[in-house]
Symmetry: C2
Subunit: 367 residues, 2 copies
């Protein structure tokens, strides 16, 4: 029977999560996990909340819930805790994660309309304004639809929501720290992020940053769940605690990572760093047999369509023969679209290694 001893953790990782962590962050993973029902851990968590608000450019009264779970856990918590069957949601669906918001609205029986965006395409003003003046109570969008690499136009979406007094929920999981973001500027009510994307910590924590309006929605609604009950998270969070044992080591990594970002020049500097990696990669694939998939790209990843071969076969060859992970796709995009992430502890010389591998594959007739 095969055993797991062969798993190689040292491949060069260009996926879109989990990503490579710096040595500083990884070393925290090697430390003993401190007991957490203490003032010391509360201090760390209150600091995490303050720093996340700073990075999200949130209002002074905003709150942050830290959920031990994937980004989907936080997406579910937001849908179930913020909305009731009295709401009417407008959901932007341009891929897997837009579809996930739709699934959640169905599960919780929240009335909703889906704005279908063709995969790889941007949301147009015409598509969005077809729903103008129709009394929707909230709009849910994956700022960066991770499955296709499309970055939606948040200025346009924010204007629409302001004009229609719509509560704006933004899944920024794979865009946070890659593309410019501001809760205040865009009037975002809820922003979702996760530990294993550009925050470049281990997977296991997702975060929900809530405007005071969102907090009010949650506290006035008696959600029927325990683990994803944001009222409990908010009340425990007031003293820097979580209702249930959290992934303490990852919360400690987050604390260190956010301080590292701030010490290195802050959010805009980090976004510039990711953008430069993306731009370098994009310029260097121009003479390779790929076409870009999305119309409007996030800095987080480059989604490319190979002209001649299956995208999935490139993923497999890079993994098995070059010790490089890129990000395959699922479903109908599996053979069509390959995704190359620019997040985590990567450098231009890492790009060079990937480009060289692709050129070598081309010479071998594998591209």
């Amino acid at each position: 029977m095969p055993t797991s001893k062969d798993i190689d953790v040292n491949k060069l990782n260009f996926t879109i999560g989990p990503v490579q962590s710096s040595e500083h962050i990884r070393n925290i993973g090697a430390e003993q996990v401190p007991y957490f029902r203490t003032q010391e851990f509360s201090t760390l968590m209150l600091e995490n909340e303050r720093l996340m608000k700073q990075l999200a450019d949130a209002e002074a009264n905003a709150r942050v819930c830290f959920i031990t779970g994937s980004g989907t856990a936080s997406m579910e918590a937001v849908v179930s805790n913020c909305f009731t069957p009295q709401d009417r949601l407008l959901i932007i669906n341009g891929g897997t994660f837009g579809h996930r918001f739709e699934e959640l609205a169905e599960i919780y029986e929240i009335p909703h309309t889906t704005v279908h965006v063709e995969m790889g395409h941007k949301l147009t003003k015409e598509q969005l304004y077809a729903f103008d003046g129709q009394s929707y109570s909230a709009l849910l969008v994956n700022m960066h639809e991770t499955s296709t690499g499309v970055l939606y136009d948040m200025d346009m979406i924010a204007d629409f929501c302001r004009k229609n007094s719509i509560f704006l929920v933004v899944d920024a999981i794979s865009s946070f720290l890659c593309d410019s973001f501001s809760m205040k500027r865009w009037g975002v009510s809820v922003m979702i992020a996760a530990s294993q994307k550009a925050l470049a910590c281990h997977p296991g924590i997702s975060m929900i940053t809530l405007s005071s309006e969102a907090v009010q929605r949650i506290t006035s609604h008696n959600v029927k769940c325990l683990y994803l009950n944001l009222n409990l998270a908010l009340s425990n969070g007031e003293r820097g605690q979580t209702p249930f044992t959290p992934a303490i080591s990852i919360l400690r990594q987050l604390n260190a990572r956010v301080k590292d970002i701030i010490a290195s020049g802050g959010v805009e500097k980090e976004i510039q760093r990711v953008a430069a990696l993306a731009s370098d990669f994009r310029s260097r694939i121009s003479d390779l047999p790929f076409s870009l998939f999305p119309e409007r790209m996030s800095n987080a990843l480059t989604a490319i369509c190979p002209n001649n071969v299956s995208a999935y076969s490139i993923f497999t060859t890079l993994k098995d023969e070059y010790d490089i992970w890129v990000c395959p796709n699922g479903g109908i995009l599996a053979d069509k679209v390959l995704r190359v992430g620019h997040i985590g502890d990567l450098s231009v010389s890492d790009n060079t290694r990937l480009i060289n591998a692709l050129k070598d594959m081309q010479q071998r007739g594998l591209l």
Copy 2:
């Protein structure tokens, strides 16, 4: 404003989770996190499932779901996925975690009757058999009620469930690998465990081991949730995957830890090791001003009542003045009961350090 730089991860940890991890396990936390939508990670996860079944002495057709979340996430998944309002549950409630099962049954509107056990006391045959022949469909019990240290008599409970054809759910979170356990011998349908107890990995993963009967219950029931949907976990698990990005580093730690346990002689050997630490500690506090709280104790922890001072004050003094964490209690037991764990990477010499600290406190008039 206080910052978190002062958090000390190297205190001697006698809490009941998170606990001390071995160097081998901690070092995995320092490695890069591998990409997981691969055959290599699937192999690891299928091995994790096989090894967990072995440790739980589960039937050949049993399955294991790995949930990124605390033990409560798995408790909620079990209640919501296994039961419907057509069930009638019997819930043993002798403390915080028994009460949690009750809360969950209320949230999901599953009819239930609570067997109230006085805190610190064992469940008696009379108490249990008062519900004999009353057509309950399931019994839910925290084998070790972690808040009080009581270990329930599983032979008695298993006999009762067999006699009444009752589906038996066991939260073994803080008892697994501390007290003898067998799904097959006791006819347990569902067993819940967590990464940060005697498995001594980082917190963030809980595990649900399901008998084939439990799997059948779950697959025939369309639960209204996404993140804790065990049907999705089971179907993805068939190929060694999880529906959502899991806490990969902790799943890799679990794999290594379980193999370490097996290489060191197996489950019974590990239980003996924990039992020996518990026994050593219990014999050495006999001349200190404590009385034992529970009537029937798990090896996982010793719950003690200080005769003269507040239990919480002992926790604080040990933390701040002796660099030792023991486990405080919440609610009405906060000042009455102190818990000393015997799980994780601890030794008899660690017990000596704690005993010496307590003797020193006694000399200083603090006990």
